[in-house]
Amino acid sequence: MPGFVRRLRGFGRRLAPSLFGVALILLALLPFGLPQFSSVMPLLSVIAVYYWGVYRPDLLPAWAAFALGLVEDALSGGPLGLMALVLALVQGVCVSQRRFLAGAGFVVGWSGFALVAGGAALFIWSVSSLYYLHLFDPRQALAQWALTVFAYPLLAWTFLLAERRMLQPG
């Protein structure tokens, strides 16, 4: 029985980051009733994928990031495959730069995130513009990027707590 419980806990542990990701995607979708807010809603899923990609890539592999993005695309009504592609790329970048980012302090981690999020926002803006054959206002992408960068510390802190509380092995 303890073996079963342990296995169940291990399963929950491995699933937790993905569930966090889905919860964040749903949170970003909720109608908050604030004017203009939904158009500059922070890219919460990018924060989640970056965090887990840098600090615990074993818990959120590339295919899981891709799946999260697909869910986000389906729900948001945007181009199907866009966020899937973005999140998979973010995960790939994080894993490749992880040796540098994971060991460094918070400020370096945050700066790294600002770069990655900037790339993501730019990618989303340019692919959307191509997809809809319409030049979207770049200021919107800029505002979204800024809000995402500011939202990072709060979410990273939440993830850190969660990781300490329940995700430490053993």
Partner: protein, 285 residues
């Protein structure tokens, strides 16, 4: 053995990653072309997650209502005075409406006018705002099983919100008037001039294809024209907010940011059907 296994594992991982990137790109391209497939994937996911969104959207709406009520408490006095005044004005309108209604009924009878078919509606909760910044849509928690169908119009308290663009079993996506892809046939109330209200992702969609020399002035009410048979005619859409360089922009009546519920209007195009005869236009909606 280990020395061999590591590079192989890394290679497999790299290959899997490249496959994901290719899959994403492929989806984007295929999804752009094959709208039916995109829709099926979207509605499946939306159907699965709408109950969760509903569970959160409801308390959120309640919280918002509470905050609003607290705010109103402070302005109860002014509000009362304003409402009393409005009430007096509306009573006069009511009187007038009654008279007109009788007039109308009498005239219709004289002329044997066939009235538009009765419209019914389904009320649904708004459970999802659009997530991305480049689309303007809403997710509502009613779908095929509630009688919602693609192309139907969604109304807020004050006016048209948008058109049902995708529909699943228990969820539907409403394309707002402001979205880049929204096109709604409208007319100006006073002059009966017809045009197409087309969104461009800004707050105020523009009216296109108005006759060249049309007289439009700010404040003119804009209604659905019913052309194309998708929307019932005469639904309030908004008012002309500005005219600059010949571009007429409309402020929608619907307040997208305070929308908890929408009514999806079921409307069947009037069809010429002779007695005892099969519908003349089978399969047309």
């Amino acid at each position: 053995m280990m020395r061999l296994a590591m590079p192989v594992k890394a290679m497999v991982q790299r290959f899997a990653f490249l496959m994901l990137v290719a899959l994403g790109t492929g989806l984007l391209i295929v999804g752009r072309a094959d709208i039916a497939l995109t829709e099926r994937i979207r509605t499946t996911v939306a159907d699965a997650l709408t109950p969760v969104l509903s569970a959160f959207a409801e308390p959120l709406a309640a919280g918002r209502a509470l905050a609003e009520r607290a705010h109103e408490l402070f302005r109860l006095h002014e509000e009362n005075a304003r409402l009393r005044e409005e009430n007096a004005r509306l009573l006069k309108w009511q009187e007038m409406a009654r008279r007109l209604e009788q007039d109308n009924a009498r005239l219709r009878q004289l002329l044997h006018v066939t009235i538009d078919p009765l419209t019914s509606f389904v009320t649904a909760r708004v459970v999802g705002d659009t997530g991305g910044s480049y689309v303007r849509t809403m997710l509502v928690n009613a779908g095929l099983r509630d009688g919602v169908q693609k192309g139907q119009v969604a109304m807020g308290e004050a006016g048209v919100v948008g058109r049902v663009a995708e529909v699943g079993q228990r969820s539907a996506r409403v394309l707002l008037l402001t979205d880049l892809n929204s096109r709604v046939p409208v007319m100006l109330e006073g002059s009966r001039l017809r045009g197409i209200l087309s969104g461009d992702n800004s707050e105020r969609p523009r009216v296109e294809f108005l006759p060249g020399n049309s007289q439009v002035s700010p404040g003119d009410r804009v209604l659905t024209s019913g052309h194309g048979g998708v929307f019932p005619p005469g639904l309030p859409v908004g008012f002309v907010a500005s005219i600059t360089d010949g571009i007429v922009r409309v402020q929608p009546f619907a307040d997208y940011y305070r929308l908890d519920m929408v009514s999806v209007v079921r409307y069947d195009l009037p069809r010429p059907v002779a007695e005892g005869e099969a519908p003349a236009l089978p399969g047309r909606r």
